[in-house]
């Protein structure tokens, strides 16, 4: 008997002109692992919220069909009753913490269930071990890193002994190592407990080898397919799948382990990675005029150093990726360069207009419609948003909001500073962002992008800076910096080495 049944589910948000979900019918058997993917705004979060009744109980709107979870029809049972069966982990962990201590937070759901104290204690201890957060149990939530918070959120959901775990892009805000830690926790639960899991995730390369099926949402329509079929069709997929399709490998490998068998057939000594062709006026190699000079920059919060002795130059025509783990000082450096903060030591000088787009693009959008937000912009800037002009900006998906904010801020800037612009973006929008930044750079802008997205940085950046503990410790071309790193390496680099970063570059 299926654990979850969706039967002809259609849903339209209040005042929306089109449905978020259209006639979705599928089931989830106990112990299955489902990967949910789809473009920005395709209805992923809506579908996940249907599983614990937040849609439609919390959102209103027109709901048709039925969702049955462990025999309970979500139309008749409120989310607080379904919460016993579905453990839900939100995209932003800080939005789900009620108390400020880790252990109190883990017990909060159990207290709501009215469990006896010895049983609560047992469950808290179990979940602490399962998720591996014993060192964090006495900590305050506010002192935890993003990855630690997400692990605590998973543990808090798991403590209620749900029948299924539902995760809504749990790694979207994390650096590669923290994302790896969180996904390892999920995979351990799957392997050891047989936990039924539905996970929406853009970093499919880590999770793809372990899923039973892939749900692909496109405009609210669901396709439920076996992993190899779904990944061969397109959408967000691991780079090794792209390489396999190019090389004609069958069956398609879903992860590095499977791919290594096929990779042995690649030329033993691949030719050295060629330099990209360079035309007149192409300054990708950093030979363009200097647009920004940072000299001996220091900044600290109280006693904690955020940026230490950073000196660098940024050139026109170059896209520079700034990478490093959460808390390494990337955002502070961007804000210092943008002039939003005054450095405690050192200088920043730049030419022309500098524009900074923060991580939280929502704060940049405050007009009642997209049309109002774009008032005064050129037709070229407005054109990509023609379909959304009448919409309320905050009703757009997170990826769409990010696109709008970048378009608003980047048009007239000579120096464009972007903080995590690919967060929540699907592959298609990421490619569009790459093309946009390339166009801006070719037009003479200097671009500095803080990002955790290794694959996107490899595809987009002309130069990569790695930052840790407030210092820049690596600076160079993507081919050297991203292939030398253990953490900040692309999947293809891990597979074939030799400085190759992307599937389309590898000589076959």
């Amino acid at each position: 008997m299926p654990l979850i049944t969706l039967d002809a589910v259609s849903y339209r948000y209040p005042e929306a002109d089109r449905p978020a979900l259209s006639d979705v019918t599928t089931t989830v058997e106990p112990g299955e692992v489902i990967l949910l993917r789809g473009a920005s705004g395709s209805g992923k979060s809506t579908l996940l919220r249907c599983l614990n009744g937040l849609v439609p109980h919390s959102t209103g709107g027109q709901f048709r069909g039925r969702v049955v979870v462990c025999g309970l029809d979500t139309r008749e049972h409120p989310p607080r009753q379904l919460g016993i069966h579905i453990g839900f982990v939100f995209q932003h962990p800080e939005a789900q913490f009620v108390l400020e201590d880790v252990e109190a937070e883990l017990a909060f759901g159990l207290e709501n269930l009215g469990l006896a104290r010895p049983l609560m204690r047992k469950r808290v201890e179990e979940v602490i071990d399962q998720v591996g957060i014993n060192p964090l149990r006495r900590r305050r939530i506010g002192t935890l890193s993003g990855g630690e918070r997400q692990r605590v959120a998973i543990a808090a959901a798991l403590a209620m002994h749900p029948d299924a775990l539902v995760l809504d892009e749990p790694t979207s805000q994390l650096d590669p190592q923290a994302a790896e830690d969180v996904l390892q926790v999920v995979l351990r639960l799957v392997a050891e407990l047989g936990m039924t899991t539905v996970i929406a995730e853009h970093r499919v390369e880590r999770i793809a080898p372990f899923v039973d099926r892939i749900w692909t949402l496109d405009g609210g329509v669901l396709r439920d397919q076996p992993p190899r079929v779904a990944l061969a069709e397109g959408g967000a997929r691991p780079p090794v799948v792209d390489l396999a399709l190019r090389a004609g490998w069958t069956p398609i490998p879903l992860g590095l382990r499977d791919a290594r068998v096929h990779a042995q057939r690649l030329p033993a000594d691949p030719t050295p990675r060629p330099s990209p062709p360079r035309g007149e006026g192409d300054f990708r190699d950093g030979s363009g005029p200097i647009i920004c000079r940072v000299d001996g920059l220091d900044h600290r919060y109280d006693t904690v150093p955020a940026v230490q002795g950073v000196s660098l130059t940024l050139c026109r025509g170059q896209v520079v990726a700034l990478m490093g783990r959460n808390g390494s000082g990337k955002t502070t450096l961007l804000r210092l360069v943008a002039g939003l903060m005054r450095p405690q030591r050192g200088t920043v000088t730049h030419e022309g207009i500098a524009a900074y787009v923060p991580q939280d693009a929502d704060s940049l959008l405050f007009a009642p419609t997209v049309h109002e937000e774009l008032r005064g912009q050129s037709a070229e800037v407005v054109a990509p948003f023609a379909a959304w002009l009448h919409r309320y900006p905050r009703d757009l998906s997170s990826g769409e909001r990010q696109q709008l904010a970048i378009a608003l801020m980047g048009t007239r800037a000579d120096l464009l500073l972007l903080d995590e612009p690919t967060r929540g973006l699907d592959p298609q929008v990421k490619r569009a962002l790459t093309a946009y930044l390339r166009t801006r750079a070719d037009a003479g802008a200097g671009i500095l992008v803080a990002t955790h997205d290794v694959e996107w940085a490899a595809r987009t950046a002309d130069r990569v800076l790695l930052m840790a503990d407030g210092e820049i410790y690596a600076d160079g071309a993507p081919g050297s910096v991203l292939s030398d790193s253990l953490v900040f390496a692309t999947q293809i680099s891990k597979l074939v080495g030799g400085g190759w970063l992307l599937p389309e570059e590898v000589p076959l």
Partner: protein, 278 residues
């Protein structure tokens, strides 16, 4: 370390009573020393932005009092008959404003201590069952306040980034996006509470809060101080300040000493732990 919210609650009440019942500047200065020393052991690596706000807040009464009050005999200078600010500017008004400012500074400092030391889980844990839902709501609201302030700053900065006005005149334009952001976050909290079974039935308690010896010591000392200050005052309540202040009474000094118990306890606790870290 002292943890019980009731102990901190009585301590905070006693300090505020002492600060407002008698405006003696010596007494206020001593109280400020006590409060700062109670805060420091619990501060950890927190930023000290609150103190800057408190100092700014303390200056406001001084400015208002000196500009608007004509109270007192010690005239500093006399302005011509300008509306509102014209007339005698007195030293008495400056002293009264400074005293009110110091009391405000103490209030902010006391709340900073309480905010740093009291955990919302403990507050919820000691509430009677009928008050549980209201208590959780208050705990959430308190957690919400700094996030709302951060959202305000973020929206203000976003306007600056988009080249729009950011001064005080822009505040009305900031309120709508702030309201929307706050409502969105409140809805997210609501969803989280719902998804975690909040309000689904009779609630149990994971770890009831127990009284420790330091908690009890602080409670008893604070109650004694409160009695000395409010119930058996050596000096009657007087909102006005004497320009030449008297030396505080022995019972007032004793009360201040009792209010220093949290700082002393924390120091002894640290000394006790020091050899273990050596």
């Amino acid at each position: 370390m002292i943890r019980h919210p009731l102990a901190w609650g009585v301590w905070a009440t006693a300090v505020l009573a002492a600060a407002f019942i008698d405006r003696n500047p010596y007494l206020q200065g001593l109280l400020l020393l006590v409060v700062v020393n109670a805060f420091l052991p619990y501060r950890g690596r927190r930023r000290v932005g609150t103190w800057k706000l408190a100092l700014a807040l303390a200056l406001v009464p001084v400015l208002f009092s000196v500009a608007l009050s004509r109270f007192g005999q010690h005239v500093l200078f006399t302005l011509p008959a300008i509306p509102i600010i014209g007339g005698r500017w007195t030293l008495d008004a400056v002293a009264f404003g400074a005293s009110t400012g110091l009391a405000l500074l103490l209030t902010v400092a006391v709340f900073a201590v309480v905010q740093t030391t009291v955990r919302s889980a403990d507050v919820v844990a000691i509430l009677p069952r009928p008050l549980y839902r209201a208590g959780t709501t208050v705990a959430l609201a308190l957690a919400f306040a700094p996030k709302t302030l951060a959202a305000f700053q973020s929206i203000r900065e976003a306007r600056q980034l988009r080249g729009q006005r950011t001064g005080w005149r822009s505040v009305p334009a900031l309120l709508l996006p702030l309201l929307l952001t706050t409502l969105e976050r409140a809805l997210q909290y609501g969803e989280s509470l719902d998804a975690r079974g909040f309000g689904s039935g009779r609630r149990s308690r994971y770890r009831p809060l127990r009284w420790t010896a330091p908690d009890l010591l602080v409670l008893i000392a604070s109650l004694a101080a409160l009695v000395a200050i409010a119930v058996l005052p050596g000096v009657p309540y007087n909102p006005y300040l004497e320009l030449v202040p008297r030396v505080p009474n022995p019972d007032q000094l004793l009360a201040v000493g009792l209010l220093a118990v949290p700082a002393v306890t924390a120091s002894l606790s640290r000394m006790d732990h020091a050899p273990h870290h050596a």
